[in-house]
C-alpha cells in the first residue's frame, strides 16, 4: 500500500498527460500553463519554507561537536568537526553539502553470534546518495541547452565529460543512466532493507518513482523514441522569454517528461525534498562551538522564577551557623 499508492500516483500522472495531450489536445495547458505554475510554486514554496524556518531563531548554540574542541593552545583543535570560527563552519558545511561528510561516517552496527557488536564501514548509502545528487545536478545543468540561445561556457565542457565514452549517436551521456541506476538503488534499498522498509512512507517512494519516471522518459526521448528537439527548444525558449509557443510535431513523450518535471518542482517545497534548503539551516551543523568564549544571545530569553540565596539562607541559617558555614545575616537568638 505504501509502495503501490505512490507508484499508481505517478502512473496516473502519466495517463493524465496522455489523455490531455493526445486525447484532449490541451497542449497549451501541459506545455505552458503547468510548467509556469510549477516553477512559480517551486520558487515561492521554497522561499516560503526557508523564511518560515528563518523566523524561528536558534536560541542556543548547539552544534554537534564531532572533534576536539578549542581549548589549551597545545591541544590540536579539530577545526572542521568542531569549528570555532566562521571559516571553520563554512568548511564543515561545505564538506557536508558537497561531499556528504556525515553520511560518509556511516557504519553498520550488528550483533554477531548473539554476543558481540560489530561495527563495519558501510558506504553504499553514501555512494548512492552522492552519485544520485551529482548526476541529477549534471543532468539539470545539461538541460540549459534548451533554455538559452547561446550556450553558457560550461555546457561544452560538461557534455564532453559526460559523453566521453563516445558510445552511440546521439552519444551516451553517462549521468542519465547513472542517475537512473542510483535512483533504482535508493528505491530497492527501501524495499529490501527491512528497517528502511518499515520506516518508509508513501512520501519516500513518490519522489523516487517520479524521478525514475523523469529519467526514463528523458532517456527514451534522447536515444530511442526520438522527438524533434528543434521544436522542443522552440517551446522551451518560448517559456523562458515569456513568449510561449506550441510548435507542431512534439510527441506525447515529451509532454509526459515535462509534466513529471513540473510535478516534481511543484511537489518539492511541500515535501521532504526541502532538505536541499534545510541542510543550510541545521543548527547542529552551522553553528560555532565556542559559546564559552563568545556570548550567544537568545532573543526570547525571559526572566524565570528562581530560588535566591537569601531564601536559601533563610531556610538553613541555623544549620549553616551550627556547621560553621558563613552566613550573610546573623541568626536571631
Amino acid at each position: 500500500m505504501k509502495i503501490l499508492f505512490p507508484f499508481f500516483m505517478v502512473i496516473a500522472l502519466i495517463l493524465l498527460v496522455i489523455a490531455g495531450v493526445s486525447g484532449a489536445k490541451m497542449h497549451f495547458l501541459f506545455g505552458v500553463v503547468i510548467p509556469y505554475a510549477a516553477l512559480f510554486l517551486f520558487v515561492i514554496g521554497v522561499i516560503y519554507r526557508v523564511t518560515k524556518w528563518a523566523k524561528s531563531p536558534s536560541p542556543f548554540c548547539i552544534p554537534t561537536t564531532c572533534g576536539q574542541q578549542k581549548s589549551l593552545p597545545w591541544i590540536k583543535q579539530n577545526k572542521l568537526e568542531n569549528p570555532s570560527s566562521t571559516a571553520g563552519v563554512i568548511g564543515r558545511m561545505a564538506l557536508d553539502v558537497l561531499l556528504f561528510r556525515s553520511l560518509f561516517r556511516n557504519q553498520k552496527g550488528e550483533l554477531r553470534d548473539g554476543s558481540r557488536f560489530i561495527y563495519g564501514s558501510d558506504k553504499w548509502l553514501w555512494l548512492a546518495g552522492i552519485v544520485f545528487h551529482y548526476t541529477f545536478l549534471i543532468v539539470l545543468l545539461r538541460h540549459i541547452r534548451f533554455f538559452t540561445q547561446t550556450e553558457p561556457f560550461y555546457l561544452h565542457f560538461l557534455e564532453t565529460f559526460d559523453g566521453f565514452l563516445e558510445i552511440g549517436i546521439p552519444k551516451l551521456f553517462m549521468t542519465g543512466a547513472i542517475l537512473l541506476a542510483a535512483a533504482a538503488y535508493l528505491l530497492l534499498r527501501r524495499f529490501y532493507i527491512p528497517q528502511v522498509r518499515y520506516i518508509s512512507l508513501p512520501a519516500d517512494y513518490f519522489p523516487l518513482f517520479l524521478i525514475i519516471g523523469i529519467a526514463t522518459t528523458g532517456i527514451l526521448m534522447r536515444y530511442f523514441l526520438k522527438t524533434d528537439i528543434v521544436a522542443v527548444k522552440e517551446l522551451t525558449m518560448g517559456l523562458v522569454t515569456f513568449a510561449p509557443v506550441i510548435p507542431d510535431g512534439i510527441g506525447a513523450l515529451f509532454y509526459i517528461h515535462l509534466f513529471l518535471v513540473s510535478a516534481l518542482f511543484a511537489y518539492f517545497p511541500f515535501s521532504k525534498l526541502v532538505h536541499m534548503g534545510g541542510i543550510f539551516m541545521s543548527p547542529t551543523r552551522n553553528m560555532t562551538g565556542n559559546s564559552r568564549e563568545f556570548y550567544h544571545a537568545n532573543p526570547w530569553n525571559y526572566p524565570v522564577k528562581v530560588h535566591t540565596y537569601e531564601e536559601y539562607e533563610e531556610e538553613f541559617r541555623d544549620k549553616m551557623k551550627m556547621a560553621e558555614i558563613p552566613v550573610e545575616k546573623e541568626p536571631i537568638k
Binding site: Q69, Y309, P326
Partner: protein, 547 residues
C-alpha cells in the same frame, strides 16, 4: 512491581525484526522495568510543574487534563516558533535510515521505534497532521496521524527511552538531532503532568536545597569531612577546605553525586587532594552545590531556573572564575546553554590558572573551566608530581561521555591526564569512542532502579565494547568524567562485564599525586593495597622537558 530478574543471556536475545503491523498501528507496549514511575505532587514541593496528577503508566487511562489535546498542539506551535532546530528537523528528514543502528537503545532492544528516525516520526506525524497542508489533506498517505491518547502514551514511553546522547546526529546527513526532538517531546508530556518522579524529585531538591540529592548545608560539609578523614588516613595529610567563603579566587562546583555514594566520593576526594596540593584559593558552595541539572530533562525553563544559582553565587562570593568538576550533561549545559541563560557574567574575570598562568581563552566569556582542562594544563607545565605506578594495579579504558563528546568536544584533555597518571591505558574500539561514543544507557535522568531492563539494554553497546578490552587486555577499570556514568556504569558492567570497576578521572589523578609531606601510601583511595612500588617518576612524564 516485580524485581528485575532477567539474566544477561535473556537480554541478549534481541529480535531486530520489525512487527507485521505498520508502526502507526502498533501501540506502545508499556511494560515493567522499561519505564520510570510518575512523580507525586508532594515530591515536587515548591517547584510548580503543570497538571501534576495521579496516574499509572501501565493503565490505559492516564487521567490527562480535559484540554490535553489543545495543550499539546499549542505546545508544539510555540516550540516551532522558538526553536529553529525543532522546526527544521520536523521538515527535512528523508528517512534514509542512517541513524537507525547508531542508537544504543535500538541496538539493545531491537524495537523499531527506538530507531531515531522513527522516534522522531512519532512526533513528526502529529506535526504533519496539524501544521502542514499536505498532512491535513492527505493524512496517512503523507505520514500524518491524529493526536490520540495512545500517541501520547507512545511519545512518553519512547521519549524516556532516549538519553539525548546525540549519537544519531553525528551520522545524520543533515545533522538532525533526536536530542532536540526528545527535549521538546518531554516538554510536551511535562505540560500534561506526565513527569517521572526520578527526574521531578531531584529537580525539586535542587531548586530548594541547591542539589539533586537534597543535601542540606551541614550535610554537605559533614560528607566532605568524612572524605577528609579518609584522606588523612591514606596520606597523613589534613585538608581544610572552605565553604561559601567570600573573596575566594575560584568557586568550585561539581555534581552532588560526587558527594554521596561510591564511586563518586573517590573522585571528590581527588579534587580535594589536588586543590590542597596546589594551595588553590577556592571555595565550595552549599547553595550552588549542584553542577548537574535534571531540570534540563523536564523543560528548558526549569533548567534555567535551577542554574540561576551558579552565576549569582559567584557574584555573591566575589570569585574571579568558576571551576567545574567531572560531569556530563552539566558540561553540555555549561558549554552550550548556561552563558546564554544567565550570562555573560562580566562581574568575573577571564579564567587564568593561578598555578601556571595559563589564560583559558576559550572560556573567556562564560568564565567556566572544566577540571580536565585545568589538570591537563598543570601536568603539561610539570606542576604536579605524579607516580603513575601507584595505578599499576589498574588496567584502564576511557569512556567518553555523550554530552562532553558531542556537545563540547573534550577528548584530548582527559586522555592526556589519564596517560600521565596510569601506565596501562587501552582504548576501546574506534567506533565506540570519542564522537562515536556509546551512552551508558542511563543519561538524561533515566538512571532509576525501576527501569533496570531499559538501562541494561541501552548500555549494552557500551558494555560490549568494555567487554572487548576486558577480554583482550584484561581491562579492569572503566574511567570517565561524569557523575551519572559513575553511578550507572557500575551496575551496567556488573551485569554485562563482571570484574570491571568504574572510576572518575580525578580519583586516578589523586592516586598518582605525590603530595608534599605525605606519608608512604599503602593503599589507593578505595583502601585497596597499592601494587609493588616502582621508582618514583616526576610529573608530566615525557612532556616535562617541554616546559
Amino acid at each position: 512491581m516485580g524485581k528485575f530478574i532477567k539474566k544477561p543471556n535473556d537480554l541478549m536475545q534481541i529480535d531486530y525484526k520489525s512487527p507485521q503491523t505498520d508502526w502507526m498501528d502498533t501501540p506502545a507496549d508499556i511494560r515493567e522495568h522499561m519505564y520510570l514511575h510518575p512523580t507525586k505532587a508532594k515530591e515536587l514541593g515548591a517547584v510548580d510543574f503543570p497538571n501534576i496528577h495521579e496516574w499509572k503508566p501501565a493503565d490505559k487511562n492516564w487521567n490527562l487534563p480535559e484540554n490535553w489535546k489543545e495543550i499539546v498542539l499549542n505546545g508544539i506551535k510555540e516550540r516551532l516558533q522558538k526553536y529553529r532546530s525543532f522546526h527544521v528537523f520536523m521538515d527535512i528528514c528523508v528517512r534514509c535510515g542512517a541513524c537507525a543502528d547508531k542508537c544504543h537503545f535500538y541496538l539493545g532492544t531491537g524495537d523499531p521505534k527506538n530507531m531515531p528516525v522513527l522516534r522522531a516520526e512519532l512526533l513528526r506525524s502529529v506535526y504533519r497532521k496539524y501544521f502542514t497542508t499536505g498532512g491535513k489533506i492527505f493524512g496517512k498517505a503523507a505520514g500524518a496521524r491524529e493526536l490520540t491518547d495512545d500517541v501520547i502514551r507512545e511519545l512518553w514511553f519512547y521519549y524516556y527511552q532516549c538519553t539525548e546522547c546525540r549519537r544519531c546526529s553525528v551520522f545524520c546527513p543533515y545533522g538532525i538531532d533526536q536530542a532536540e526532538i526528545t527535549i521538546i517531546g518531554r516538554e510536551l508530556t511535562n505540560l500534561l503532568g506526565l513527569q517521572p518522579g526520578w527526574i521531578g524529585g531531584p529537580v525539586a531538591n535542587c531548586f530548594m536545597k541547591g542539589n539533586h540529592l537534597g543535601l542540606e548545608p551541614h550535610t554537605i560539609k559533614s560528607n566532605i569531612e568524612f572524605m577528609l578523614d579518609d584522606i588523612e588516613t591514606i596520606t597523613g595529610i589534613k585538608i581544610e577546605p572552605t565553604f561559601n567563603r567570600k573573596g575566594a579566587e575560584i568557586l568550585f562546583i561539581t555534581p552532588s553525586g560526587d558527594l554521596f555514594g561510591m564511586p563518586g566520593v573517590y573522585t571528590a576526594m581527588g579534587y580535594l587532594m589536588l586543590f590542597h596540593e596546589l594551595g588553590l584559593d577556592y571555595t565550595w558552595s552549599t547553595y550552588a552545590s549542584e553542577g548537574g541539572n535534571f531540570g534540563f530533562f523536564t523543560s528548558n525553563e526549569m533548567a534555567k531556573r535551577l542554574y540561576s544559582k551558579i552565576y549569582s553565587e559567584a557574584k555573591r562570593l566575589g570569585v574571579k572564575w568558576i571551576l567545574g568538576g567531572e560531569c556530563g550533561h552539566m558540561w553540555r549545559l555549561w558549554h552550550q546553554y548556561q552563558n546564554t541563560w544567565w550570562g555573560p557574567p562580566d562581574f568575573m574575570e577571564a579564567p587564568v590558572s593561578p598555578i601556571t598562568g595559563t589564560r583559558f581563552e576559550h572560556a573567556s566569556s562564560a568564565k567556566v573551566v572544566h577540571i580536565a582542562e585545568f589538570t591537563a594544563d598543570l601536568i603539561k607545565h610539570g606542576r604536579l608530581k605524579l607516580d603513575p605506578s601507584r595505578n599499576d594495579h589498574l588496567k584502564v579504558t576511557w569512556h567518553d561521555s555523550c554530552n562532553t563528546s558531542r556537545g563540547m568536544g573534550i577528548f584530548e584533555e582527559p586522555r592526556y591526564a589519564l596517560k600521565n597518571v596510569c601506565n596501562h591505558f587501552y582504548e576501546m574500539p574506534e567506533n565506540t569512542i570519542r564522537e562515536k561514543t556509546f551512552c551508558c544507557g542511563s543519561g538524561s535522568g533515566i538512571n532509576a532502579s525501576e527501569n533496570m531492563e531499559l538501562r541494561m539494554r541501552g548500555g549494552l553497546p557500551r558494555a560490549n565494547a568494555v567487554k572487548h578490552v576486558h577480554d583482550i587486555h584484561g581491562v579492569n577499570t572503566l574511567a570517565n568524567m561524569c557523575a551519572i556514568d559513575r553511578a550507572s556504569l557500575q551496575p551496567l558492567v556488573d551485569y554485562w562485564v563482571p570484574g570491571v570497576q568504574v572510576a572518575g578521572l580525578h580519583e586516578l589523578v589523586a592516586n598518582a599525586l605525590v603530595m608534599k609531606g605525605e606519608k608512604e601510601r599503602t593503599t589507593d583511595l578505595r583502601g585497596e593495597p597499592l601494587p609493588q612500588k616502582s621508582a618514583q617518576k616526576s610529573g608530566g612524564k615525557e612532556d616535562a622537558k617541554d616546559v
